[in-house]
Amino acid sequence: MYTSVVRLQNVFGFFTTVAFVVAAFIAASDFVTERAPIVRTLKTTSVQVVRGRPHYYSSKKEEYAIINFSLDADLSSLFTWNTKQVFVYVSAEWPAADHAKTNATNEAVIWDTIITSPSADHLANIGPVAMKKLRKSAGGKSIDPNRGKLSLKNQRHKYKITHPSGKLAMTDNVTLRLHYNVQPWVGLLTWDQDVDYGYWKALKNGVSKRFKLPAIKEKKAASAGAR
């Protein structure tokens, strides 16, 4: 029965089938593309603990850790034709109070950034001037692995971190850890990994040395007097 309705259904059905097969092929191409991300340097440059309030109208006082760091990493192999953006974040990790019994840890992000692939630049939420600069930086290419090369010196933290107990000062065995999340145009979302899977190598050297948070920094006047 070849009515126009049936023909329309066939055309639409064929279109969706082809679209899904092509999408599946693109998604699968990720698995045969090499990934070898490495971190050359990840270290703290300044660490302090201050007392503060969660927001202006709160009377609760909490301790906040302020961690600035340096990072030198090469994530350029994560940028392929199916990469929409790479979300890069640095977290601080430290053992929980009951760590000895349960092996529990605390983890909090101190800094993050979104690196768009040039093909996704138009989606970035930035002002017109920054947008123009971003587009120009790709130099007309639709894939730009150079964006995966990060070199940050004494990078300021983006988030002050705290703990539900409000106590953080003198915490020992804190480490910084670099993570990434690759957002594809279609297919599986992937994160940094500890072991190799096929063509994807584990993130090398992504953890900093252990460090200890200092005691609470006293008010300006007091520290000036001590000096």
Binding site: A96, A104, D112, I114, L123, H179, N181, V186, L189
Partner: protein
């Protein structure tokens, strides 16, 4: 024209076929729900708070089992706030402790501040059971039709009417 009405046996067969299609779709949805252990294994993005990763109308596939590792910092999760039934898709940025009572804080990549404001009053953190799944796969744009349907309810009537008409008019 209206052959179905003239022949009651054919009309009954067509009705059965229509019912079969609906129940197959329903069973596949529920089967997926059982496999992923999530009440809603596929969700459509409704807001721009995770841009540029997810736009409105993109389709996300969720996984809600902790087979290899616990749900941890960096994962993009869908959660429901107590007393509100709008699912929110955001990223976990803090995790304190371990197990089902671990305290989790989320934030949208495109938002300036974290989600403390979005949570129910008196709720400072999420726990594992508030989460209905972690995003593991992504297809762009396909879910936009559901946004159109919910924003323009008359489209639903038109679509149902058209489907009914096709079922009645179709001979085979």
């Amino acid at each position: 024209m209206l052959s179905g009405l003239a022949n009651p046996r054919q009309a009954a067969v067509q009705l059965m076929n229509f019912g079969l299609i609906l129940s197959t779709a329903f069973m596949m949805w529920k089967g997926l729900s059982v496999i992923t252990d999530s009440p809603s294994p596929i969700v459509v993005v409704l807001s721009g708070s995770m841009e540029p990763a997810f736009q409105r109308g993109d389709l996300l596939f969720l996984w809600n089992r902790n087979v290899v590792a616990e749900t941890s910092v960096g994962e993009i999760v869908v959660y429901n706030v107590k007393g509100k039934d709008i699912p929110i898709v955001h990223r976990i940025v803090r995790k304190f402790g371990k197990g089902p009572e671990a305290k989790l804080l989320t934030k949208g990549d495109n938002n300036v501040s974290d989600d403390t404001e979005l949570y129910a009053s008196g709720q400072d953190y999420l726990v594992r059971k508030d989460i209905i799944g972690s995003v593991f796969a992504y297809i762009p744009f396909v879910g936009y039709v559901t946004i159109l349907l919910s924003e323009h309810p008359w489209l639903k009537t038109v679509m149902l009417g058209l489907m009914g008409l096709v079922v009645v008019l179709q001979r085979e």
